[in-house]
Symmetry: C2
Subunit: 356 residues, 2 copies
Amino acid sequence: MLDIKTTKTTTPKELPDKDDPLKFGTIFTDHMFIMDYEEGKGWHDARIIPYQPISLEPSAMVFHYGQEMFEGLKAYKTEDGRILLFRPHMNAKRTNNTCRRLCIPEIPEEDFVQAIKELVKIDKAWIPTKEGTSLYIRPFIIATDPFLGVRPSHTYKFMIILSPVGPYYPEGLNPVKIWIEDEYVRAVKGGIGEAKAGGNYVASLKAQIKAYEEGYSQVLWLDGVHRKYIEEVGAMNIFFKINNVVVTPKLNGSILPGVTRDSVIKMCNHWGIKVEERLISIDEVYNAHKDGLLEEVFGTGTAAVISPVGHLRWENHIMQVEDGGIGPLSQKLYNTLTGIQLGKIEDVYNWTVEVE
Amino acid sequence: MLDIKTTKTTTPKELPDKDDPLKFGTIFTDHMFIMDYEEGKGWHDARIIPYQPISLEPSAMVFHYGQEMFEGLKAYKTEDGRILLFRPHMNAKRTNNTCRRLCIPEIPEEDFVQAIKELVKIDKAWIPTKEGTSLYIRPFIIATDPFLGVRPSHTYKFMIILSPVGPYYPEGLNPVKIWIEDEYVRAVKGGIGEAKAGGNYVASLKAQIKAYEEGYSQVLWLDGVHRKYIEEVGAMNIFFKINNVVVTPKLNGSILPGVTRDSVIKMCNHWGIKVEERLISIDEVYNAHKDGLLEEVFGTGTAAVISPVGHLRWENHIMQVEDGGIGPLSQKLYNTLTGIQLGKIEDVYNWTVEVE
């Protein structure tokens, strides 16, 4: 159990207007959480302080060798005024998986969740309640040794910041168009693809810009070895409903193990819908589409929840998924998941955690 | 031509003692260079200021999505008191190659070199002169938008810091032991391996620790697709002298194009030594060693210059290179390269640039 020292702001900011569209990741709340790590001393000095800039040496390792990780989850306010987190222990576990891969010291799961709860509680007035909005929680760790040799840092900062957000895609639940990338590669087995590391995101930018310029919202990555098996979308995992079976790439070491991905698989299982986690090639998707068997495609992620895919482009082939609209399974998953997150639907999976 | 505004420190630090071993990357000089970038405005406000911490929003993109790049080069003081940089335009070019891959705005080559020259001149008293020492120059760029969406930042800082250094390996020119990694992968074609990006370095830490624990200084990476072709060592490129021919992996998109690598190839060509840039598999190296044809192995890099390799370990095979000592070609390359860098040997290649 962390002993978190709290210093409240004396100059609270104005809350966003309740009609503010809350563009993703632009507004931050009044407070933040910080905890320091020092070799030999461990994680220490847990504190909540007013949201403020941080000061680092220009030689701090995070600026040079990318030793940084992040997580993302959300807090929701229910109609009866309770505050719910969605599966925060999954993020705590994934944090530690990422930390092991990046040689960052781990954080006890309970401390991770406690820090989130206390911070969210202090800034609970910032949780928006309009349809499609939530309080996005961004835990992250950065390496701070002022040292230019390449080795794991001996000092770190673990921080949590909060941002009231609207939908990740300005389109909301509307279908997105996805570009299947065949030149650039996001990650490869043996690399850091399954870690939530900054390095994976910077690697994705070039293809993302190419996709934008062609009118596509996101990039779908193929594997780096064969360049044919589907991996993930930059900010989401991906699912295909083919001939009544839901298929998603198996976690293979280069794919991020999404919390929403896991939730969707469990919901489908619960509903008796067949789900296969396996290798799926772009040819299989192409052929399924050609044969009229590609019923739905959707992305899953904390930021976007469920994101129906209306179009896929692979080389010169443009595949419209059914009528390019929102498929019934996508809609049902979205309704159920957001219903559980908002406390409107019974949480039979025991996924939500209340901030008391 | 940049108009660099200079503010000198009023509290200069004490210079390191001339017998200080100058552990790599730990001591920084009195000043640093900064220039800001803003979309629509370009790079602006070039300035040299006292070395000091930088203050960033916790939401600054560099902390989350790894949009950061760095370079490394060195300044030397000659016996007659001149200051020489080694091939700084190569670093300027590589900076821009990296920037293009990471969607960071480019910096005019001449501005890059001018900024280095002016900063080195101001802190020239910090250039050490003891055998094996130099002033290490670390230019780097970080993304600073306070924004949590994944896209290229619209604002950046380009900074240069300086550090008087001794040899990168405490062993100096002594042979290092290299671990050939067969589980983890550094980079793959289509990824960011040829960019000088933080993400490549964090990806290398886990294997580096494994190697350290087994008594090896550095990791030699195999390609991520076939897991058999040799790529590079984390902080160096790698060369093999096999049966009188010098072989080094061809630049293939996942290997860093080293300045020292390029210099070594040009020196060998100049000396009439046959050099092949091509695919080289670990089996070929293993067989060459078995047949007594593996004459020398050495790494090349700005930090280490030339680093002879005495032992290689691949799976359970330990290969001692010749007598495990410094090969004659490694020694000659080291002597010539450092001789040119220090202005002791005629620079027939026109590599050095004087800071006047």
